[in-house]
């Protein structure tokens, strides 16, 4: 028995020691972007949140295989969790355990900024410059990845424009036209409802699509800085721009703009509603071009689909060509595991990636390549891509990447209640201002 106990004790101590060793390890210098030494091929991992059969993953797989031909022993292990909330939880847990892989996806969230502050991410600004690719990137694509202080720690792999897609035939049936102002939308919804048409199809289950709407009025009224101030408690929902969006959201709800029971409907539900001609509008980005502007689209509605960009408002401080133009979730490089191999592979991949990506018909985050229009595209495809050429200098940031996570969660919950008419604009304003006051100081010290 004594021997048994001794063996168990030794095993327990060994396990603890191993755990401690695995969890340790200090971060290297994040600004050292050109590590010297021999390139020793090994398997590296990229923890990412992108569709498993999407262009980014397919291209990077191919590039990794090409790189491995000259560097036997190299492999890129792609670990994807496309569902964003699950991915974020995975990322945060791995970060807490100090077990982040060589490459990982993240938005420019307050949590990511904390990681950067602790020196756990390589300075992407310096990295891209050292690889001589920095100037190829669209400024907007890089700006989307920057933290508030202008620092850059994530590399973009996409560039998207978000539009409001609409069905011309349904609009005509209801006797309405493309809104000139954001303020026209509630009345438009009422007219569509009166004609028996669902005005806007929305994925309520994932919460971020509704949160896009709350960003629109303040972006027009007070510019991109409003959310930067709001998240730190320097501006509030009680302010003029804040009240404008709160009342507008309540008006959208009163006018029954979204499909009934939208909060329990998912991404594909919303897409199906629009593409089957049941809903008049659908707010989504160019990542859905293959399903909205090619012959894959239902022939019954194919010729009726068009899009408009975010309407302005009277006295808007941002222009019609400025709206949400995200460059997707960014890729961060773990400074702890950054070595000559990772550096060399990134140089190889980032140089070749834009051409491969543009060939798939997607907008590259760089300007040095021309996007190929797929053979099965409708004229709308080209029109959507060309909009990128006339983009203005300011961009509306999605609020879910800006607010601290607790406030963001509360905002997503309260927005549904506001739009459903379960709470008043006053209640919403008070709850959210209190939430920011309570949670923001911990994140934005």
């Amino acid at each position: 028995m004594n021997k048994l106990f001794r063996a168990a004790a030794v095993a327990a101590v060994a396990a603890l020691a191993l755990t401690a060793c695995a969890g340790g390890g200090a971060a290297s210098d994040p600004s050292n972007v050109s590590p010297t030494g021999e390139i020793k091929p090994r398997e590296i991992s990229w923890l990412l949140s992108r569709p498993a059969d999407g262009a980014v993953i397919n291209i990077m797989k191919k590039l990794a295989d090409d790189y491995a031909e000259d560097h036997p022993g190299f492999a890129l292990n792609l670990i994807t969790t496309p569902d964003r909330p699950s991915y974020i939880q995975k990322l945060e847990t791995l970060a807490a355990a100090n077990k982040l892989p060589e490459l990982f996806d993240t938005d420019a969230t307050p949590f990511a900024q904390e990681l950067a502050k602790q020196g756990k991410m390589v300075d992407a600004d310096k990295l891209l410059k050292s690889l001589n690719v920095y100037d190829d990137y669209r400024p907007g694509a890089l700006d989307y990845q920057r933290f508030d202080d202008g620092s850059l720690y994530m590399i973009p792999f996409q560039f998207e424009l978000e539009f409001i897609w609409y069905n011309k035939a349904l609009m005509e049936k209801a006797g309405v036209s493309v809104p000139k102002s954001l303020d026209d939308i509630p009345a438009m919804c009422t007219a569509l409802r009166n004609a028996g048409i669902t005005p806007i199809a929305i994925d309520g289950q994932d919460q971020w699509p509704l949160e896009r709407y709350v960003a629109y009025q303040p972006f027009r009224e007070a510019g991109p800085d409003f959310v930067q101030k709001l998240k730190k408690g320097e501006a509030s929902f009680s302010d003029e721009a804040g009240q404008k969006t709160v009342n507008w959201m309540a008006d959208l709800g009163k006018a029954k703009c979204f499909q009934e029971g939208f909060s329990a409907q998912g991404y594909s539900d919303a897409q199906n509603q629009f593409t089957s001609g049941q809903a008049a509008m659908y707010n989504i980005g160019t990542w859905e071009l293959p399903s909205l502007a090619t012959d894959k689209l239902n022939p019954d509605v194919r010729d009726d689909i068009d899009f408009f960009t975010l309407p302005t408002t009277e006295g808007s401080v941002t222009s019609a060509n400025e709206f949400v133009s995200p460059s997707g979730i960014g890729m961060a490089v773990n400074s702890k595991t950054y070595d000559p191999l990772v550096s060399d592979f990134l140089k190889f991949a980032l140089e070749k990636y834009p051409a491969e990506y543009a060939a798939t018909g997607a907008l590259s985050p760089t300007t040095n390549v021309q996007t190929a229009i797929p053979a099965n595209a409708t004229p709308l495809y080209k029109k959507a891509l060309e909009t990128a050429d006339t983009l203005g200098g300011k961009q509306a940031m999605p609020w879910d990447t800006q607010l601290d996570p607790t406030t963001n969660g509360r905002l997503q919950q309260e927005l549904v209640l506001l739009v459903q008419g379960n709470i008043t604009p006053e209640q919403f304003t008070k709850t959210m201002d209190d939430a920011i006051k309570q949670n923001a100081p911990k994140f934005f010290k």
């Binding site: 048994l4 909330p85 807490a96 029971g261 909060s263 919950q413 549904v416």
Partner: protein, 293 residues
């Protein structure tokens, strides 16, 4: 009584599972208790805050209390469906002469279906646009005025997310109770029938008292499972709309993995552990008192 040598063997064989239990259950509980005295976002330094998390939870967190009362209501609905439903079905099964196995299997089926599938299935059943099964049924039977978006209506969502959980485990508890019911000695029942006992008297005076130990076990199981209910509400509504279907478990999970407030999430988890222990204690106390009386 086992001879000494056998008792030692039993103890030796009990030790590994006991150690495993300590490592997998007791250690995380103690770790949560420890973490609950800290403020920690997972990546920065842990900051000792004493009882501040407990004070915040009990006095200044409206979502916590909302989740707590939601969890109690969720539990009540689950218990009625699971235990009440199980008892009724098991009792009816004992009077059935043919087709018992088929009915048992059918009732047990939901318990082996994955939670994710159940959640998606019920999202479709409750849907209003496109019209789901429930709203369609209401329409057919002339109760069209009751049609609604069950998962988006703050007044119905909690019951709507509780029902699948209750439905799912009714078969499991039915099997346990059925096994207990068929073990009731027939001579006791026959004697009671000869004495002129009605079916109700037979059930309340003979059958139920006889299966009381099994009933206590199933009640404890169903209660602790209900208090830990998480996956179906999380998958169906993510606690919404607003906090209408937020349970302590979903709130704890979000606090840890969305808000990255691991200290406060640990405080909520400690509360859940205490809540489960109190619930089990209360059940044992009430049932024992009833048995004594």
């Amino acid at each position: 009584m086992l001879p000494n040598r056998s008792r030692t063997s039993v103890l030796v064989f009990l030790l590994p599972p006991l150690l495993l239990y300590c490592a997998a259950v007791l250690f995380p509980i103690l770790q949560s208790l420890f973490l609950s005295f800290f403020s920690w976002n997972g990546i920065s330094e842990m900051e000792f805050v004493g009882l501040a998390n407990y004070v915040r939870m009990l006095t200044a967190d409206d979502i916590f209390w909302r989740s707590f009362f939601n969890a109690l209501l969720y539990l009540a609905i689950c218990l009625v469906l699971q235990l009440g439903g199980a008892l009724v079905v098991a009792s009816l099964l004992t009077s059935l002469r043919r087709g018992r196995e088929l009915i048992k299997t059918l009732y047990l089926l939901p318990a082996v279906i994955s939670t994710v599938a159940i959640a998606f299935l019920f999202v479709r059943i409750y849907s209003i646009d496109p019209v789901g099964l429930l709203n369609q049924l209401l329409h057919w039977i002339g109760l069209g005025s009751f049609e609604r978006a069950w998962l988006s209506d703050v007044n119905t969502v909690l019951a709507a997310v509780s029902a699948p959980e209750g439905w799912r485990f009714t078969g499991l508890y039915m099997l346990i109770i059925y096994a207990a019911l068929i073990a009731v000695p027939k001579e006791l029942e026959e004697a009671a029938v000869l004495d002129g006992a009605s079916k109700w008297t037979l059930f309340t005076k003979i059958r139920f008292p006889y299966i009381r130990p099994v009933w206590i076990t199933t009640t404890i199981m169903a209660t602790t499972y209900g208090l830990r209910g998480f996956d179906i509400p999380y998958l169906m509504t993510n606690g919404g709309p607003g906090q209408s279907s937020e349970l302590l478990t979903t709130y704890m999970y979000k606090t840890a993995f969305t808000s990255t407030d691991f200290g406060y999430a640990s405080t909520i988890s400690v509360f859940i552990v205490i809540e489960c222990l109190v619930a089990v204690g209360l059940i044992l106390f009430m049932l024992k008192r009833k048995a004594d009386s």
